[in-house]
């Protein structure tokens, strides 16, 4: 309670968000101001703070815990944040997005994400969830001129509100079970159940919480918002939310289900297995016929959620570490891919239809090559990050004997390769009309370089990061 160390990273982010707001307030109309810089500083600071906090296992207010697990997620989120900021510069101007609000909301969302992953109290998780959700709803609809944006935002919002009601109901049952919303107390209450047969309340709590999490990670059948929201949102926001929200939600998901609700494993593993199976299948299968790149990547994101769930279902150390590692690889790959889409787009032309990519290798060979790298990483080709991530997840699943799920996983990833390659086909094997494509700001170059290096580094020399991921779960659970 007296120790504030654990909240330092998220406080830094929150402060930078407020700074961005203030800066926007004092900005004279027409003046250009590098507001994104606050974000960069904030994310960098938070990352730095997380590094310093490593192994400290600090706790604040009894509800925020800076164990290595949450710090690892912090670092993923900071990576997401930094890349987003780097891609945002100029992109948001082209897309007519109000800068100050955009940066502030993004940073608030990040703050909420960090909070969610670090919280050890269901109530705080709920509040954090709402912070990040509301920010993201607003970001989705931030382009006022876009009808699609508003529609997407409302759909996302309404379904999100429903799901948080379910989530909240789950918290209520958990509360009824133990008289507290603290995870450790719920855990105690659960493990003190005589005979091990959990009462109806525990089942209801597990079910409702699972629904809430599954919505956030967009698992089938709670995924319906995903394609619409991803398509309707500004591309850069799509990039941000597809990676950040997933990371935060999975952080909390893992924490709640693999520590607190671990005694109920036998109950929820079959359930999540079913969901994961359908998620992988539906995500990839429906992705096959998409012609909008963002929508396609939305379905891919659904499928990836399915893969990630395998880590939770495995419920072993490999699985937990695999989720962390996978989140990182997915974050850099997906941000890279969507970042490029964002960099190519403008308010008039989102550049998110497949045919927009025709002949990109001619007009922008560098971008086309990088896009290919990111897509192949998403598809799980060695020697790129995505391959190691997938391998790790499947290794966890196989370790626990979930062969069927692992086989579904690998086969669907083959199908997913088909649609990733459709973009490659467009870029390299199809002649396209010479489109006017905007120039690349320096920050974006830096961001792409960073993402590429990360994808290659994680693919070729994953050892260090894998060890970190393993270490970060072994210290806490």
């Amino acid at each position: 309670m007296t120790d504030y160390a654990a909240i330092i990273p998220l406080s830094i982010i929150a402060l930078s968000a407020i700074a961005a707001m203030v800066a926007e307030a004092i900005r004279r109309p027409g003046e250009r101001m590098p507001i994104g810089g606050f974000g960069l500083i904030g994310c960098g600071g938070a990352a730095l703070a997380s590094v310093f906090l490593w192994d400290s296992d600090a706790q604040s207010f009894g509800v925020i815990r800076a164990d290595n697990f949450s710090l690892f997620i912090n670092i993923i989120l900071c990576t997401v944040g930094i890349l987003t900021m780097l891609f945002s510069n100029e992109t948001i101007e082209r897309e007519d997005i109000p800068g100050g609000e955009y940066y502030a909301l993004t940073l608030f969302a990040l703050c909420g994400m960090m909070m969610m992953a670090a919280a050890t109290d269901l109530l705080v998780i709920f509040v954090a969830l709402e912070i990040l959700s509301l920010s993201v709803y607003v970001l989705t609809g931030i382009r006022r001129a876009s009808a699609g944006g508003a529609e997407a935002a409302f759909k996302y919002f309404l379904l999100g509100a429903f799901s948080s009601a379910f989530f909240l109901y789950g918290i209520a049952f958990a509360f009824a079970l133990s008289g507290s919303t603290r995870l450790e107390q719920i855990s105690v209450a659960l493990s003190s159940q005589p005979g091990g047969a959990p009462p109806t309340l525990a089942w209801l709590a597990v079910g409702m919480l699972a629904i809430g999490f599954c919505f956030k990670i967009s698992a089938v059948p709670f995924h319906m918002w995903t394609p619409d929201a991803y398509e309707g949102a500004p591309t850069i926001v799509t990039a941000f939310m597809s990676t950040g929200v997933k990371a935060a939600a999975f952080g909390a998901f893992v924490r709640v289900f693999l520590s607190t609700l671990e005694p109920l494993q036998a109950q929820w593993i079959p359930l999540l297995s079913g969901i994961a199976g359908i998620t992988m299948i539906l995500g990839t299968v429906v992705g096959v016929v998409q012609t909008n790149v963002k929508r396609m990547l939305a379905y891919s994101s659904i499928a990836h959620a399915g893969y990630l769930m395998l880590g939770i279902i495995s419920a072993n150390n490999t699985g937990k570490a695999a989720v962390l590692f996978y989140l990182l690889t997915y974050a850099v790959s997906n941000l890279g891919a969507l970042g490029i889409v964002a960099l190519l787009g403008s308010a008039q032309n989102q550049h998110d239809e497949l045919r927009d990519f025709a002949g990109l290798s001619k007009s922008r060979p560098g971008l086309a090559a990088l896009m290919t790298v990111f897509l192949l990483s998403l598809g799980g080709f060695p020697p790129l990050a995505g391959f190691i991530g997938k391998w790790y997840i499947f290794a966890a699943a196989v370790q626990e004997g979930h062969y069927a799920l692992a086989i579904i996983g690998v086969l669907t990833s083959v199908i997913s390769v088909f649609f990733y390659l459709r973009i490659v086909v467009m870029m390299y094997m199809t002649e396209g009309a010479e489109a006017v494509r905007p120039r690349l700001p320096g920050t974006a170059v830096a961001g792409l370089t960073l993402a590429t290096i990360a994808v290659l580094y994680l693919g070729v020399l994953p050892t260090r990061v894998l060890d970190l991921a393993l270490a970060s779960i072994s210290t806490i659970f």
Partner: protein, 550 residues
Amino acid sequence: MLSIIVFLPLVGAVLVLLAGGRGDRPDREPLVRNLALAVSLATFAATLWLWARFDPSSGDYQFVEQHAWIPAFGIQYFIGVDGISLFLIVLTGFLTPLALLSSWESVHKSVRNFSFFMLALETAMLGVFVSIDLFLFYVFWDAMLIPMYFLIGVWGYDRRVYAAVKFILYTMAGSVLMLIAIIGLAWSYAATTGAPSFSLIDLYNVELTRQTERWMFLAFAVAFAIKVPLFPFHTWLPDAHVEAPTAGSVILAGVLLKMGTYGFLRFAFPLFPAAALEFAPWLGLLAVIGIIYGALVAMVQPDMKKLVAYSSVSHLGFVVLGLAATNMQGIQGSVYQMLNHGVSTGGLFMIVGMLSDRRHTRLISEYGGLKAVMPRLVAAFLIITLASIALPMTNGFIGEFLILLGAFKWHSTMAAFAATGVILSAVYMLWMFQRVNYGPVTNEKNSRLPDLTPREWAQMVPIVAMCIFMGVFPKVFTDPMEASITKVIDRVHSREAAVVEKTAPGFRLPASGSPNLASADTARPGASPGPQAPSELRTPSPEPRAADND
């Protein structure tokens, strides 16, 4: 040193990218081409050096490099060369410069990228052949798909996109199951020793239940069968070949297909000996079907590339048949046939490429009477054709003969059916050869085609020379293989005792009361003879495996 060889092409690939400059720079084309060629030649020289330094008397891995890679999972950067992989490496080094040469005139679109992918592909191929760690192997195995995908998809013919996508999805679908099996194997190892390992040598010690072993073998087998391609997994091949650019076809036929058979020999068989012996008759059966089927379908193809592609199905069927026999002649013949097929089919694709460079068609009916127009090209064509139909004193004969010999010792009926391939290959190859080269020049466009250019000479001479050299002096190649193959055979048969009675009938003609001269030890070459030896020799012996570890 081995690493340097493996990654030299990749370094070259990066250099090529840099040399190519930004954007479209046709003026840099010669530089890029020559640089790529120089790198591939240097790699070839390095592989030859490897051969020169190779100790043929040892069956162990040589030039071993072993570093921890992902220690938490026992994944290592563990590479080495033995007698089986040595020549496949040399073959890769040999074919890549030739493939680059074959694209000299035909590829003009983005030469930089083309050269980049070719060289990157070479690294991946070399990597597949040197990997001893299964994870590393899989990484190279899958990584190889990407450059090939681009080579087909960007520089191919009309339906290139379809073919490229089919190629990559088909192959991936097979190989991902293998990935699951690899992981399962590593965990099985962990179950006995506490920590997972992906090292092939460690994994030899895994004790699997029969059922698990069966499933894992099947997972490996499907992956490799698709790559081979074994009937009925072959349908990607004709499409890929037909649409691929010449260089792609050469590499695809020359090296990529070998990865499947190499995989059987290196991984599937030694890792799952009992299952391998159990399924060997089925593999053999599919191989024989493939031999006949491929030949029959090849016979009626109107497109030269497709014809050669189906002939590959037939030829690779021989290779698998030899492997399934799991005896010295069979396996040695198989490895030899892999090399042969690489050389001769690579050569055939180059020739088809030369023709289609000149005429922009590969339809047999468009040609005719070429011998009068370009006698030198046709002479090379003839020799390679003869090598392909396994005329004695060409390379193909050695391989097919040894395979048939090995197969016959194992399963005489299959060998007899396989031998019909001898007839059929002559039918389809010579028919094609005749329609293309003999007769009057019926198509006016063919009447003034130029003969071999100096560059094409440079492609043809090595191929033709190899076809004949390998047919006359096979010992140069077979001797270094022998020790390694013996190890594989011992390994496979070490657990045979349990299944030998019911699954490996071997050849026993009813000799009507005469003493059976087929002494039992002929089934196990390399072992000391003696009629009662088999059962003793087949008991597992840990020593040879321990020796692997250095």
